[in-house]
Amino acid sequence: MGPRFGCLASSALWIDYPIVDCAAMMVRSVSLLERLWLSWVCWFRVLFDARFAARVAELRSGSPAPELPSAPHPTAEATTGAASPAALIERARANGALQLLTLFQREGRLLDFLEQDIVSFADAEIGAAARLVHEGCRRALHAHARVAPVRHEAEGSALTLEQANGDVKLVGNVSGSAPYRGVLRHRGWRIEGLRLPQVVGSVDHRLVAPAELEL
């Protein structure tokens, strides 16, 4: 594929970012000055924006787990339509894990599979279900993540590591200093790019699959 026939997707749309430390992101500390400003802004929005007020009320009563935002970040919400890329990435990050679970459930029924007690079923039945889960989850994975092995050498082959780095974990007789000679046991995986669908409107991300009622 030369550049003449390129697809926009291959380059522009993949957001390559390091996997974020979720714990640090969930409880962001807010300075006194920021809090003063925030309370002033919110006072007006609570008064004039019913939807916003409803959400604040929810937050205050503590009904939905507050560490998992059920709606887009309020500041991003205020500027939807022209939300900055940074705000969009922020949004996607906050709910990324739940989005992935949603995708794996929708495409590959992963939660159904994991939540079912499979002890009493025959291997053939488990195998049939595994095919379904494998096919769907694999499709979802490849549509949204670029997965690459850390080492391209064949597993079981001899490998000399000139220098220790975080990519390769040393196991077995771990002693001495570089270069390290050994046998590659697992090639490792790295997610080189992750692209999650954008969330629009107010969506409860914790709702990984809604109940279904057939009329």
């Binding site: 926009l8 339509g81 279900a129 379904l132 096919e135 669908p197 629009v200």
Partner: protein, 606 residues
Amino acid sequence: MSAPFAVGIDLGTTHSALAFSPLLAAAEHAVTVLEIEQLVSAGTVDKKPLLPSFLYFAHESEPRLALPWDETRSFAVGEFARSRGAEAPQRVISSSKSWLSYGGVDRRAGILPLNAAPDIERISPVEAAFRVLDHLNEAFRAAHQGEHDLSGQEVVLTVPASFDAGARDLTVEAALAAGFEQVTLLEEPQAALYAWIEQHGEAWRSHLRAGDRVLVVDIGGGTTDFSLIDAVEQNGALELQRVAVGDHILLGGDNMDLALAHVVGQELAAAGKELDRFQLGALAHACRAGKERLFSDASLEQVAVVLPSRGSQLLGGSIRGELRREQVERYLLDGFFPRVAASELPKQRPRAGLTQVGLPYASDPAITKHLAAFLARHAFGPATSTLDTRPPTAILFNGGVLKAAGLRARLLETLNGWLSERAAPDVRVLPGEDLDLAVARGAAYYGLVRHGRGLRIRGGTARAYYVGIESPAPALPGLEPPVEALCVAPFGMEEGSHAALPADELFVVVGEPVTFRFFGSSTRRSDTVGTRLERFRPDELEELPAIELTLPPAGRSAGEVVAVQLQASVTAIGTLKLEAIAKAPVVPDERWQIELNVRHGATSGA
């Protein structure tokens, strides 16, 4: 100001796609496929190169179907519309393009979805096309940060080669409604060939020689289309000329997936596993995937087809079936691509007297027979002084269905069999790439070609058009008065050209609508304007929805009888325009346009 981009849009029956290329960049052109932002599930938007041409109307129980550029939308176009439509079929419009080309209904009337839920306001096939185009426009604008939309671009919109003048008009109507100011129509098989040319750069000339005749076989999700394109030497340079197009055949990949689903479904039913409508839909999906795996891996004898349970208990409730190679060969290859003689024509099943309103689906699923019928007319038949019937020398495949190598091989084998009977050499396969996106890419490339960059396929109108004139004859009970067909536009009229009727005059009463019967022919390629057919076979001329002329009373008195002369022209857009010109004008250049798609549904069409 000139448009910054040449944009190609493939408005497909099941999928749409858009490609574009900057017009101003000096040397190297770059055709890019737009990743179309669309709702993929409730509340999530993703970008995909294909936009399923489905329209879904939200129910009151659902949240707004918000898009990044519209928070309050109550309908959706694309992936979500398709998947949600399977769950709530009364709220979805599919195949709206097939309705757009069906003259048996009023295509500006709110008729879709056909079996709509009572709370849905139905829309017309034209509006359905508009909404898909409008979505493409919004996605294009969003991808260009709001700096560009399609209104300012040179848009090339593709239509099946078999679309008649009326369907082409309605397609343009939808595009104009979507705000496209510069729009041109292009036949899909030509677009596929343009994509092939663009892909090969100048090297294409070493693949095609003067005297070559390319058969383009385009099998999409819902329709099948054939065209013949000749490579001819003109003033020492190679030129391409589209010489024939086939009839509109409503038969495609969706039919094949459904056929397999029924085969596997019956087997499951025989084993005591009844499927409901939802599972049958899922089965068609699974069969499509299974078929593609069987075709791509010759060592597989069968693939497992697993239907997930509808409840949350995946194990115990799921149904496992299998799709065997022998089934795919029997039902797909022998059902849709049977090895037939070149003389075998598709069966016409007589239509039941009272049928529900529905699309005129092809009654014979054998695509090879439809191809045989097409070639019998245009390539294998007796040549005349004006009709050049040579067998094809090359073939170009297009459409998602033909991604399956096994289907391509069968088509090729059958075609080459017919050719060897005629002592003609086998066709060469022009290797196409990306059969899903070629039409959009080719259309964008054609936009560049219109600016003088690259080779242009000449073709003109794909049919000759006739108006029906009732001959004066004594009225006889039970006998319809004989109708003569008068050729008003010959085959192959090029954009911007006119054809005025030499002598015939028609008389029209001011203020009263006059309706003419209207016919098209893809086989009578040698008729010229003014040719009068006293009798014709029904397979030569196809009756199209009637056309209408109303002279406004302005400038003349009501009831006055005016002598007019008909003139056909092909607009720069690529649509056919029929006008009546006053023989004795009261104002300079007095003329009136004849309506091709009469608004009231007075046409029987059947």
